[in-house]
């Protein structure tokens, strides 16, 4: 979620909380007010009721009094007394009711005082021993008191009614406020909901645009990957094509080149066969030179073919014991080993994943190289050992031969490279080039350390777990065969090797 949106959402949260708090406080204040007004109204009504009852009792009292004045049956007197007591109680009640209220209190006190006074005057009136004039005076005073009380009561009532009116109005106001608050609340909720919805919409929009952007990026990436893949595939196809072309070229070159050489050699041989004894020594020597060079050309072609066939001579990569392979290479050279009384010592070597036939070629190349360049003054000793250096397996083939200047250490692995005149050491100079190619096809390196007159140590490294993949997977070969139509990749190695082994 972007920063802007997060800020907005935070604002909505804060506003909602503040509004909620304000509302809660406001509503509780309102409710309190409401209750207060209601209790005020109830109180005022109680006061009014009390006043009404008082007024009623007062009028009953007045009636009793008049009846007592006219004649005085005992029953009437009793009633008067009872009413007097009752109204006294009522006045006390009223006093108690309004005790805390300044508004009615003075009136209530006055009423109470007057009632108490009238009760006393009643005693005077009812005393038969009193003079008539005194009694009459009492009566008149009482009447004035009653009138006074009625006025007081009315005053209280009026005030109470005013109070009720006032509080009812306030109640109505509170209700209105409550209604307004509720309407406001609903409105606010609605607005907040709208705001929230809008925010969510914004968020959804942002999210959607982010998703879209991501999708676009993905598509772009995918496009690029596809483009790159197709470029790579094109490059691979191009490589396969050029490889197939090269193979066909090597095949036909070697076969077409071999034809005339075979015939040259054949006819020169025929010359020496047919004309034996008829030619002089020089002529025989010339014939021999011609035959030797034809043979050399043949060897060169075979070795070239053998070299160029290595990479499509895709043997099976499987686990092989290097000791076994090295011993196998040694047996191929048994005749030479015996002839020169050479010794080839092979340590216990680990197993690797590789092409047995090709690795055997490496060993054979290195062994025959050692035999070829043995020291004339001492029997040849070749020692094969292995060690692990930097997570690589390094195989060393050490000899005590004639050695060479270290400055040639790199060039001797080149194709047709030779350090010595052909007369002394025959060979085409492909053995080490083939060894290097094989090792490199196994994701390894080959190098040599040499001291003239002391010997050489040829070393090659191989990955411990074997190469990542075969130099040619079956798909590739299928495709090449499919493209070239008539090509049979397996035929080349056979021809190359037969020439090489000879």
């Amino acid at each position: 979620m972007p920063k802007r949106l997060r800020k907005k959402a935070k604002r909505v949260h804060i506003i909602t909380i503040v509004m909620g708090a304000v509302l809660a406080i406001g509503v509780s204040i309102l409710a309190h007010q409401y209750r207060k007004h209601q209790s005020e109204i109830t109180y005022s009504r109680n006061v009014i009721e009390s006043i009404h009852l008082f007024s009623l009792q007062l009028s009953e009292l007045a009636i009793d009094e008049k009846a007592v004045l006219i004649g005085t049956p005992d029953a009437q007197l009793d009633s008067l007394r009872q009413h007097t007591t009752a109204i006294q109680k009522r006045a006390e009640q009223l006093l108690a009711l309004t005790a805390k209220d300044a508004l009615y209190r003075s009136n209530a006190r006055e009423i109470h005082r007057l009632i108490t006074k009238s009760a006393r005057s009643l005693d005077i009136i009812l005393d038969n021993n009193q003079e008539f004039s005194k009694v009459m005076a009492q009566f008149e005073r009482r009447s004035a008191d009653v009138a006074n009380m009625i006025n007081l009561a009315r005053d209280i009532e009026t005030k109470a009614r005013e109070e009720i009116f006032l509080h009812e109005e306030k109640l109505r106001n509170a209700e209105s406020i409550l209604i307004i608050v509720f309407i406001g609340l609903i409105g606010m909720t609605f607005l907040l909901t709208l705001w929230g919805a809008k925010l969510y919409e914004g968020y959804a929009e942002v999210r959607e645009s982010a998703n879209l952007a991501m999708e676009e990026m993905n598509q772009e990436l995918e496009k690029r990957v596809q483009l790159r893949t197709s470029e790579l595939q094109e490059a691979v196809r191009e490589l396969k094509r050029s490889n197939a072309d090269l193979e066909r070229f090597a095949y036909s070159a070697s076969h077409d080149l071999q034809e005339p050489i075979r015939l040259i050699s054949g006819y020169v041989s025929m010359l020496s066969r047919k004309y034996t004894g008829k030619l002089d020594e020089t002529a025989n020597q010339y014939i021999q030179y011609a035959i030797n060079n034809a043979q050399r050309m043949q060897d060169l072609i075979n070795d070239l073919l053998s070299f160029s066939s290595i990479h499509f001579e895709h043997g099976v990569f499987r686990e092989i014991s290097l000791s076994d392979v090295a011993r196998l290479a040694r047996t191929y050279l048994d005749v030479m080993i015996q002839e020169y009384q050479a010794t080839i010592e092979i340590d216990e070597l680990p197993s690797i994943v590789g092409d047995k036939h090709q690795i055997e070629r490496v060993f054979r190349g290195l062994f025959s190289n050692a035999i070829k360049f043995r020291h004339p003054d001492r029997p040849l000793l070749v020692q094969v050992s292995s060690k692990i250096v930097n997570e690589e397996l390094v195989i060393s083939v050490k000899d005590n031969g004639i050695g060479f200047d270290q400055k040639h250490a790199d060039s001797i692995f080149e194709l047709f490279a030779r350090l010595h005149p052909r007369g002394r050491f025959p060979g085409t100079g492909t053995g080490l080039a083939i060894a290097r190619k094989v090792v490199e096809l196994h994701d390894g390196r080959i190098w040599v350390a040499s001291t003239p007159n002391t010997g050489s140590v040829f070393s090659f490294s191989l990955p411990i777990k074997g190469p990542d993949s075969q130099p040619w997977d079956s798909d590739v070969m299928d495709e090449i065969e499919g493209e070239s139509g008539h090509w049979d990749g397996t035929s080349i190695p056979t021809s190359g090797n037969s020439g090489h082994r000879r």
Binding site: R262, L263, Y267, S491, S495
Partner: protein, 150 residues
Amino acid sequence: MEHQYQPLEILVIDDSPGDVGLLEAAFQEWQMVNNVNVVEDGEQAIQYLLQEEPYRDVTQPDLILLDLNLPKKDGKAVLAEIKVDERTKHIPVVVLTTSNAEKDILESYRLHANCYITKPVHMDDFFQKIHAIEDFWMKFVQLPPRQISA
């Protein structure tokens, strides 16, 4: 002792005069009585075998030496035709070629070549092989009677 053997009628199908020359030299050296005829391409070979023009008067060969690398109609096509035709399928065909490609070898035998021999590089080996062919087909083998004769 050569009188014990029927003179062998051999057809060499090879377009290389050099090869043919060496072959003839080898046959001569063994001094067996052979009649070696040479055609240079596949079409001529078929015409020869079926005694069509211009080979009306030739004798059907007892043995064919066939090079695979031929102009016009290549050696395998010729081999296939020979081995399909009732009139020629009984004639032994020795494929004699420079190719040692497994594919060529296998295909030749699948087309019913009677044997497959590579031309050796060295003259001594070459002569030895040619003499072995002669020996085998003249001394050890009972050949079928000629079906068509002049």
